[in-house]
Amino acid sequence: MDRREFLKQFTLYSTGSIMMAPIFNIIPSVMAKNDQPQLIVGVHPNYALLVQKTLAPLGGMSAFVKKGDRVVVKPNIGWDRTPEQSANTHPQIVKTLVELALNAGASKVQVFDRTCNVDRLCYTNSGIKQAVESINDKRAVCEFIDDRKFIPVTIQKGKALKEWPFYKDALAADCYINVPVAKHHRLAGLTLGLKNVMGVIGGERGKIHTNMGQYLADMSTVLKPNLTVIDATRILLQNGPQGGNLNDVKILHTLIATTDPVAADAYATTLFGKKPEDIDSTKAAYTMGLGEMNLDKMIISRV
């Protein structure tokens, strides 16, 4: 190799490495937990009260949100459906969580989801946009997904999935609160907390469907919510994940809160008369040591 060739190749290589998309290495702090996860199941028809009541045994919102924290509340706003149709998280649940986070001193609370239908229709018709805006606090924003914020992340603990783009704001949050709605889903069986990560990932999400259970478990090694609140105020029993027919909806006035994402899903499964191991993603995440799946190894308190 002569000098000219060396310089040429050097230039090409360095240009290439500069132009390459930045890759974030996020080492998940996933540790096998020795202590049993605490899981709270609240029931109350007033959803603002329900949220407060359910979070209280875990120490309230101030146990998760410190003063000045940037908080992400991630509901399911996936579908262009109304709150009664039960395809999205109930707007009152989202609103109350945002309010509690603000009261706990959050510097910013973001609410977003990558939708399946057109984003503007989903945000409006789910009632979530109006609910967040009705708080009338500049720190609380319900914003559309900005495609520029998806960054490729290496999934080091992934078994089947090695890299996938994630939403920057979700990764950078000081406190990430996952607020899925519990509902039926033909492929996944049910869609619960782990499946809700679909709303903060980029790329072609259809590809996730080829091996959904394991892929979801892999992705939850990257993004571990500080708090999972499953909205089971009303659940969609069939024709999910969109539903539409009010006859498919069952009203439960129930909310599940825990810090263990796998335990949350495992318990929510029982509301549908199923066993935790029926859901592939729950099983895969449990196998990877991401949380507890056995109901008898959780401390379940009903309020």
């Binding site: 262009d80 399946c116 239908n117 057109v118 503007r120 229709l121 409006t124 018709n125 520029r148 889903h185 033909r186 492929l187 072609e204 259809g206 590809k207 469907h209 080829t210 091996n211 959904m212 024709n239 994940p241 969109q242 539903g243 539409g244 027919n245």
Partner: protein, 517 residues
């Protein structure tokens, strides 16, 4: 009475021009999802008050349509004041005037010898409409302008600005992007469209606009005084206009009026032609002798000049009758295109093509960018008629904006229940490519997205041998045909690359025939 010199007329006219241009652009920008189910005001106003579109649509439909009521206002305005629309209101005219300022030397250029074909174009359009072929969309200035803005100008402006700000956001140092991002967000809230949109064959629409603007180099308002059929209609109405110019003839010593007149409304002998004159009042203002004025006169005949010979009149009438006839033997009627999907609520194909004025409103408003211009799929006469291309965008279940903005009812206005049942087509699987069938891989993304409440896509759970030779359980989807509304979300979201493994086809395509006798 001595004519009063109107110092301010040019300024007032420009204010009027700018006002109507801004109104046009405002309505253009608001031809979009308004944050609620229905658009609260008539964003298609410019098409509703367009008498050319009104006449041709009502002739082809052979009914009276209430939506065109505002056009009567414009007709009355023209009968009173003459062809004022062209110099005071027309957004295309305003844009041409603005563009013309950048071309040196056109002020002093005389009239070209290109014949005035406005009347021929007008008669051709009207006659074809009467005989059953809608050509108005190809020649109406609003249709051309709105389409051009929708397909080319707006997406291009958006992608350039978005690209610029995205580059700063992704690559510039933080202090720069910290400055640029608030500007970007402010622009997004005001003048930028909500999303980047893409259309088929945008170059074609660009070329049409490009030619019209380039002709301005040949002569001022070339399009308006030589081609525009709407201008021809206004000229015909202008013959009866009450506002008349005096003197009726140019002074023998000075021909300044003729050289500066943008509409070329003086004949070679120097007579003022009331039907060509657009009452821009430039001659009044610039007359060195202060001799010119416009006054209301009721029983005085003005000099007019309908520049169409008997021969041209007859030939354009004949052509207008023959073109629809020729169209009837087009093969599209025998075998309609199987993938040519029309918007929800579209009339039956032949009525749909008749009523559609190719204005592009529906394609502008479509929230998923699904509606695209038809090219030659249904013959040249179907050019620019909207079609849905599911791979580019699907029909959103709870959206019926296209029917709300359609000025002619080619796409009918539906309520939400009607929309939920409006059948665009039917979906069919290609089992040779569908993952659960062809590769024994689980998928059913289509089933998940199907918006029909009880799902138009179901599946069988079957045990199959996969590539590794293991028996696995897999869900193989199928379409429940009588539930499918052909919204195309399945085709849109199908994760395989290239053509989807599920495609929406025209449902029982009706052969339409032209009743000659």
């Amino acid at each position: 009475m001595k004519p009063k010199r109107m110092f301010q007329s040019t300024i007032i006219r420009r204010i009027s021009q700018i006002f109507f241009l801004l109104l046009f652009l405002f309505l253009f920008r608001n031809t979009d999802y308004p944050g609620q189910e229905t658009i609260p005001y008539a964003v298609n106003l410019f098409f509703c008050w367009n008498p050319l579109i009104a006449v041709s649509v009502m002739l082809i439909a052979k009914t009276v349509m209430v939506i065109f009521l505002p056009a009567i206002g414009i007709v009355v305005l023209t009968i009173i004041f003459g062809r004022v629309f062209c110099s005071w209101m027309c957004p295309l005219g305003t844009l041409l005037d603005m563009f013309q300022r950048f071309i040196p030397g056109t002020h002093t250029r005389g009239n070209t010898h290109f014949p005035d074909i406005r009347y021929s174009v007008f008669i051709l359009t009207i006659m074809s409409a009467l005989a059953g072929l809608q050509l108005v969309g190809f020649v109406d200035p609003f249709s051309i302008l709105f389409r051009g803005l929708t397909f080319v100008v707006d997406p291009l402006m958006n992608i350039i600005l978005v690209g610029f700000f995205d580059y700063l956001y992704l690559h510039a140092p933080e202090w720069i992007s910290g400055l640029s991002e608030p500007v970007y967000q402010a622009l997004k809230k005001t003048i930028l469209p909500y999303q980047c949109v893409y259309f088929l064959s945008v170059s074609l629409s660009f070329c049409i606009l490009f030619v019209i603007f380039s002709l301005e180099i040949v002569d001022r308002r070339f399009w308006c005084k030589k081609i525009c059929p709407l201008g021809a209609l206004f000229s015909i109405l202008s013959r009866f206009s009450l506002l008349k110019r005096s003197p009726k003839k140019m002074c023998a010593t000075c021909n300044q009026c003729a050289t500066m007149c943008r509409m070329g409304s003086f004949d070679p002998e120097g007579h003022h032609l009331a039907d060509n004159c657009s009452r821009c009042m430039e001659c009044v203002q610039s007359c060195p002798q202060d001799r010119i004025g416009f006054h209301f006169k009721f029983n005085q005949k003005a000099m007019t000049h309908t520049s169409i010979s008997r021969r041209h009149f007859v030939s354009s009438t004949m052509m207008g009758a023959i073109l629809p006839l020729i169209n009837t033997i087009d093969a599209q009627h025998k075998q309609p295109h199987p993938y040519l999907l029309r918007p929800p609520g579209a009339q039956e194909e032949n009525i749909f093509q008749d009523l559609c004025v190719r204005c592009g409103e529906c394609m502008k408003v479509c929230i998923t960018n699904a509606l695209q211009p038809t090219l030659l799929e249904s013959g040249w006469t179907g050019l620019f008629v909207p079609q849905m291309i599911p791979r580019l965008g699907y029909c959103e279940f709870n959206c019926h904006l296209c029917g709300q903005v359609c000025p002619t009812g080619a796409i009918q206005q539906l309520n939400m229940d009607q929309k939920h049942q409006a059948v665009i087509g039917k979906a069919y699987f290609d089992k040779n490519r569908c993952l659960p069938y062809a590769q024994q891989t689980s998928c059913i993304v289509c089933e998940e997205h199907c918006p029909v409440y009880n799902k138009a896509i179901h599946y069988d759970t079957v045990r199959v041998k996969n590539k590794d030779g293991n028996m696995i359980e897999i869900k193989q989807p199928y379409v429940v045909e009588d539930r499918c509304i052909g919204c195309g979300i399945c085709e849109n979201k199908c994760p395989i690359s290239g053509e989807a493994a599920i495609r929406v086809m025209v449902y029982k395509p009706k052969k339409f025939s032209y009743n000659l006798f």
